[in-house]
């Protein structure tokens, strides 16, 4: 069975919304979807034999000094379709694409008890750089880690 990635457009935005409703206990606001749409190839839907089963959604942030870093807003795969390498494929896509675009930093927040997610990101070279207490309001534990990964800065840029 093939896995393929597709861009997010306003024509298929509802697919991402459906995924998020199933995956996360949070309602995302319009800004989330606007950010995802404007991030271009940094946000991808994953299709498993033509069924949309997962997505990675990113936001591009301009740092002081003008360089851009990538913030992974969500990454998720529907429960029946986990264990098929779809999450890996999505994250690898963002890592590869970031490298091509000379992005130097990728980061995300994760709830402190989400061991599986933490282990997953560590495998890709992410490290815990910070702990924010009371980051979440309605869920417990309310604390989160900041996981980030620095990409090798291309020589030309210095």
């Amino acid at each position: 069975m093939g896995i393929s990635l597709d861009c997010l457009r306003d024509k298929n935005l509802m697919q991402l919304k459906k995924l998020n409703i199933a995956l996360f206990p949070v309602r995302y606001n319009d800004k989330y979807y606007a950010d995802a749409l404007s991030s271009g190839d940094f946000t991808k839907l994953a299709y498993y034999s033509d069924i949309c089963v997962g997505a990675i959604a990113c936001r591009l942030e301009r740092k002081e000094g003008g360089s851009i870093r990538v913030y992974i807003m969500t990454l998720g795969v529907l429960a029946p379709y986990t264990g098929l390498g779809i999450g890996t494929k999505l994250l690898n896509h963002v890592l590869d694409f970031s490298a091509k675009q000379n992005i130097s930093e990728i980061y995300l927040h994760v709830q402190t008890n989400n061991d599986e997610a933490i282990a997953f990101y560590k495998k890709f070279g992410f490290e815990i750089t910070e702990t924010i207490e009371n980051y979440y309001t309605n869920i417990s534990p309310p604390d989160c880690y900041v996981l980030s990964k620095l990409l090798p800065v291309p020589a030309a840029k210095k």
Partner: protein, 849 residues
């Protein structure tokens, strides 16, 4: 032409003609005016000026000039020809033909006029005239290929096949041996195939066969050649040759069902009604096993055995058939299987099979007896299939359980929402169905099909405004009404018309129905260009079949719906008129967007009769046609015509409740008329007396007895009981309560096993709704109406009409869309999937922002 003019003006006249042909109308007008300055009453010039103005869209001037021209020069064929052209441009073909005929009387050998006339004759199906004209053309120009062919086609259309063959033979006689040249091989091949089809049509099969073998090398379309050949072999009972040929056709396309049927026929293994002996079934089984092996990529070879196999073998074959399709994920699988539900016993076997598959995949992740893990989507497709299965069996509750399970499993599959909408529609909740179709639409905004389905569901739920807004999303420029009309989008116009009709907006409804009627008129019109084009291009077989299609055009179901809609509309219109006198409409808007002008016809019933004629000519096999005819003619007091409708109904289906109603109503009405006075009335009376004896249903019985025996015969069927009750009330109004009791005493029995339906009541929702309306509007009994509604609300818990407990009318719309909050608060469950492999992670963040 222009002969009566001096040389200078004659030259100018040539300029007019030339300019007309090259569409340089301005230049033509100038030349015409120059002549008219000197000869203001010159007929041919006036005519040509008129024709030129017609092309510049100045219609009324055009007619005036052309007529004046003709009056000044009645002996000119030019003037007559121009008059004909003018009529033709306005699609007034009958008038145009008259003009051409007058022109030919003056100039009998004018090829141009003859050719124009022949086109009109073909269009109007004036076939004898067409033959004559074509003959003249051939006599005048025998060296033109088209003229030979045209003459042959004319004879063919005029049902003189053998003459057509003779002409084609003669034409071939004029050709050199090395004909055709390279660039005309296709055309010539088509002509040869056409000739063979003519030979076949008039039963000269041996000659047809001989012709085919002789000309094989010259026929370019090899597929058509083979299909034509095999059809002749079939008719000659040359089964061995036929079998060989069908097998070679299957090699070209192993999914063409007709080839399989043909092959079966050659092997003596075909039954029109699908009934086979055990022995035949075994033989077929062997045959299809070998075919499936030979054409391993053919789906037809695997699917067809499901039609003839039974019992255990069917179970096994169905199992083998659905498994790979479930693994692959084929949304249309159920549609593919659904004809099997009409075969006795197969629905039960399928149910057993699907449940087996579901249980196995749920517990082990594999199909029964396998140890290869299925992909996760397999369960989704099994649930999807099961849901449609239960829906087909009328078990809406179970169907909804399964579809919800599928949606929970994979909420991103759009088909799930469409099907859920369909289930709710059939369960009677049109509002919820529309909401689901809209949800499906929202998931892929670039999908026209989803958009259309949503519009249709909205119209069914009488949300016309919303539907229009949704439809606009897919039309150009947002000008949806004209655009949908231009695209001949008839399903939309019909659904919209029906919705307006339900809501009592007769004007708008009529407008929509008439729009559909207009499309059919346009389609008839559209064939005009093909009369010349097809003869030139030699696509003769396609041309003749197109003409045959056109002759049947108005029997198409869309036209049928539009015409019945229009008739009911006019009927309703005429009743509302008689109630309120002539209705005066306040605002005669110029464009009549609400169809108000359409309603202001003097005699709506007369309009209705027009559509009824078309129905009677084209849908004579439909009960509805004759029911409408009955109602209409009873209203118009046309006794004999109404009686004719009753006779037709009896002929089509004497057991139908509607037939019974019409029969009783008719003779009841007759008996209540006063004794005949005039000669005409006496005549009608005598006819009816004589005819009554011929109706076996009425033999020696009073109407009350007829009604009683009808009830006795069909006492277990709801709709028959209701018809009997309604007639009882009509015949004996004092027995009203007894009649109501008759309806109420009906039991909603469970469907017998082995059929398509599962263990559900046999009553149909739309029938129950019509009974409810009858109790309310005919019996005027609020108590019975109320209790009927309560009873049906239990049978149809999703029905909004009966306000069933599970319908959106009671529980509101269950919003499955983005605004609802997921009820599941269990975080970890949401976050982490089952296994610890690397894929299953869901990070979530951004909560505070």
């Amino acid at each position: 032409m222009g002969s009566s003019l001096p040389p200078k003006e004659a030259n100018l006249f040539k300029v007019i003609v030339k300019s007309y042909e090259t569409k340089q109308y301005k230049k033509g007008l100038k030349a015409a005016d120059a002549i008219l300055k000197k000869f203001p009453e010159h007929g041919e010039t006036l005519s040509m000026k008129g024709l030129t103005l017609n092309c510049l869209d100045r219609k009324s001037e055009a007619y005036e000039l052309v007529r004046r021209g003709l009056k000044n020069d009645l002996k000119s064929h030019v003037c007559w020809h121009v008059y004909g052209l003018l009529y033709r441009s306005d699609r007034e073909y009958r008038e145009a033909i008259k003009c051409y005929r007058n022109a030919l009387r003056i100039d009998p050998d004018n090829i141009e006029i003859l050719r124009d006339l022949s086109l009109l004759q073909a269009q109007m199906r004036d076939l004898t005239g067409f033959v004559e004209t074509r003959q003249q053309l051939l006599a005048l120009k025998p060296n033109h290929r088209t003229n030979w062919i045209g003459f042959a086609v004319a004879h063919h259309l005029n049902s003189n096949c053998s003459k057509a063959i003779d002409i084609l033979d003669a034409y071939e006689g004029t050709l050199e041996d090395d004909y055709p040249p390279e660039n005309e091989r296709c055309e010539h091949g088509e002509m040869l195939l056409y000739k063979v089809s003519l030979l076949e049509e008039c039963g000269l099969l041996d000659r047809a066969l001989e012709e085919m073998y002789k000309k094989e090398a010259k026929i370019v379309d090899k597929l058509a050649f083979k299909e034509q050949l095999v059809s002749i072999l079939d008719k000659l009972d040359r089964v061995e040759d036929g079998e060989k040929l069908y097998r070679s056709l299957l090699l070209m396309n192993p999914d063409n069902y007709r080839y399989f049927v043909g092959l079966q026929k050659c092997l003596g293994l075909y039954s029109e009604i699908g009934q086979y002996t055990t022995e035949a079934i075994n033989q077929l089984d062997v045959l299809y096993k070998s075919l499936a092996e030979q054409y391993s990529w053919s789906y037809a070879a695997k699917r067809i055995p499901l039609d003839f196999l039974e019992g255990e073998k069917f179970h096994h074959a169905a199992d083998n058939y659905v498994r790979p399709l479930l693994t692959k994920g084929v949304p249309s699988l159920f549609s593919d299987l659904s004809p099997l539900y009409d075969h006795c016993g197969k629905a039960d076997i399928l149910e057993q099979l699907f449940v087996e598959l579901e249980t196995a995949v749920k517990s082990t992740g594999c199909f029964p007896g396998r140890d290869r893990k299925e992909p996760p989507s397999t369960l989704l497709w099994i649930l999807f299939l099961l849901s449609q299965h239960y829906e087909r069996r009328g078990q809406h509750d179970l169907a909804l359980v399964k579809i919800d399970e599928a949606i929970k499993h994979t909420p991103t599959v759009i088909d799930l929402y469409s099907i859920k909408g369909r289930i709710l529609k059939h369960a009677g909740d049109l509002v919820a169905a529309a909401a689901l179709a809209d949800e499906a639409r929202s998931m892929d905004l670039a999908d026209r099909y989803l958009n259309s389905e949503c519009v249709l569901r909205m119209l069914e739920a009488d949300q016309v405004g919303l539907a229009d807004k949704t439809a606009v999303l897919f039309t150009k420029d947002g000008d949806q009404h004209n655009n949908l009309h231009d695209m001949q989008c008839m399903w939309y116009e019909l659904a919209s018309g029906e919705s307006y009709f339900r809501q009592g907006d007769l004007g708008r409804a009529l407008k929509k129905f008439l729009a559909v009627e207009k499309h059919y008129a346009d389609m008839t019109e559209d064939q005009f260009d093909f009369h010349s084009y097809c003869l030139r291009k030699m696509t003769l077989r396609a041309y003749v079949s197109m003409l045959k299609f056109q002759d049947q055009l108005h029997s198409h179901s869309y036209f049928h719906s539009a015409a019945t809609g229009a008739i009911r509309n006019e009927e309703a219109n005429s009743s509302s008129m008689s109630k309120s006198g002539k209705r005066q409409h306040a605002k005669p808007v110029d464009l009549d967007p609400h169809g108000e002008k359409l309603l202001q016809v003097e005699h709506p019933l007369l309009e209705a009769t027009k559509y009824l004629k078309l129905l009677q000519n084209n849908s004579s096999q439909s009960l509805e046609t004759h029911i409408l005819s009955f109602e209409l003619n009873m209203r118009k007091q046309k006794v004999l015509l109404a009686f004719q409708a009753v006779k037709q109904l009896i002929k089509l289906d004497e057991n139908s409740p509607d037939t019974h109603r019409c029969l009783i109503k008719f003779f009841h009405r007759i008996s209540s008329l006063s004794a005949p006075v005039t000669d005409l009335e006496k005549l009608i009376w005598n006819v009816l007396e004589a005819e009554r004896i011929n109706i076996s249903l009425l033999h020696g019985k009073s109407l009350v007895e007829v009604n009683k025996s009808f009830l006795e015969k069909h006492k277990d069927s709801l709709m028959h009981r209701v018809a009997a009750a309604e007639m009882l009330y009509l015949l004996e109004p004092d027995k009203k309560l007894e009649a109501i009791q008759l309806i109420q005493d009906t039991t909603n029995d469970t469907a017998p096993p082995n059929g398509a339906l599962g263990p559900v009541g046999l009553w149909r929702l739309e029938d129950c709704i019509s009974v409810h309306k009858l109790l309310e509007q005919v019996f005027h009994n609020p108590e019975a109406t109320r209790s009927w509604k309560a009873r049906c609300a239990e049978y149809f818990p999703y029905s909004t009409y009966f306000e069933g407990l599970k319908s959106s009318a009671v529980v509101g719309l269950a919003n499955g869309n983005e605004y609802s909050v997921p009820e599941n608060g269990d975080l970890n469950h949401q976050v982490v999937g089952g296994s610890t492999q690397n894929g299953n992670l869901h990070s979530f963040k951004d909560l505070a922002i």
